[in-house]
């Protein structure tokens, strides 16, 4: 079938103004999904090609970036042909507790200003690589693209509560990796083992 015969083509100007302006965002999203530059470039290219050929399905005035992300994600999932199902172990209570413990651990090791101090790029990459795509993509949408939880949920086709718990877990995993990295390079001081550093919660 001729792919071009059944679509309404946008003008070059329109497609540049509406769609191609989001190329850096789509490329970043693709990179995060695939974790490979070559695969990410292929995915970004395919995304824009699909968008161009299916322009009739884009509603003028709606959020084109969100539409492109949805195409990108569908293409990625299709290439993965994943039969696996995510077994949800999302437990907000555990995540809240873990978040607090991580902070106390960092503070006790003198790492409370870690994120302002050192080049965390390599450790950050490592943390992202070690994460399932489901977790990486919520970080991407919320922390980089500034999506609301509701918008991320709509884009990913999951409930808002799942966005929240995946996001919290992903952030926790990243923090863990960064704290371990700081320890590895000798930034942490030995943890305090004697009394006197106990928190008093109001």
């Amino acid at each position: 079938m001729d792919l071009a015969e059944n679509h309404v083509q946008p003008s070059e100007e329109e497609f540049r103004a509406e769609a191609l302006r989001w190329l850096p965002n789509v490329a970043r999203y693709a990179r995060l999904l695939t974790r490979d530059k070559s695969d990410a470039d292929d995915l970004a290219q395919e995304t824009f090609l699909r968008a161009y050929l299916n322009w009739r399905t884009f509603r003028p005035g709606s959020d084109c970036r969100k539409w492109l992300f949805t195409i990108c994600r569908h293409l990625f999932l299709r290439t993965q042909q994943r039969a696996r199902r995510i077994v949800s172990v999302d437990d907000p209570e555990t995540d809240v507790q873990g978040t607090a413990e991580l902070y106390w651990d960092a503070a006790a090791s003198g790492l409370e200003h870690l994120f302002d101090r050192i080049d965390l790029g390599p450790a950050f990459e490592r943390g992202l690589r070690g994460m399932e795509p489901e977790y990486r993509e919520v970080v991407m949408l919320v922390d980089v693209e500034d999506y609301t939880y509701a918008d991320a949920a709509e884009t990913l086709g999951i409930p808002v509560g799942t966005v929240r718990s995946r996001l919290f877990r992903a952030r926790r995993l990243l923090q863990q990796t960064l704290i371990e990295h700081a320890r590895d390079i000798g930034l942490a001081r030995p943890p305090v083992t004697q009394g006197g550093d106990e928190r008093v919660l109001t």
């Binding site: 792919l3 071009a4 083509q9 946008p10 003008s11 070059e12 329109e14 497609f15 191609l20 190329l23 850096p24 965002n25 789509v26 490329a27 970043r28 990179r31 995060l32 470039d41 970004a44 290219q45 824009f48 090609l49 161009y52 050929l53 809240v96 978040t99 607090a100 902070y103 960092a106 503070a107 409370e112 200003h113 870690l114 994120f115 302002d116 965390l120 790029g121 950050f124 970080v139 991407m140 919320v142 922390d143 980089v144 609301t148 939880y149 929240r164 996001l167 919290f168 952030r171 990243l174 923090q175 960064l178 928190r199 008093v200 919660l201 109001t202």
Partner: protein, 88 residues
Amino acid sequence: MTPPVVEHIPCEHVIRSVWDYLDDEIDAERRERIRHHLELCDHCRDQYTFEGAFLRSVSRLLDGDAGDESLRDRIEAALVKHGFDKPA
């Protein structure tokens, strides 16, 4: 006229909501209560500062990971094959 009373909330609830608060995913009343708590509580404020710095570093580190010009050229070349540079 008496000033509005901000009801006290415990640290545990503040820590539970710290990321919702940073992400602005919280209703106005709860936001105000947390803000008030953070003004008064050093421990929670320290953790809030820590999590905020983390989120800024995530955004900063990922923000640079975008497509380059060669990718743009490549995509446009692919689009041209489907009539991209022809009048609509």
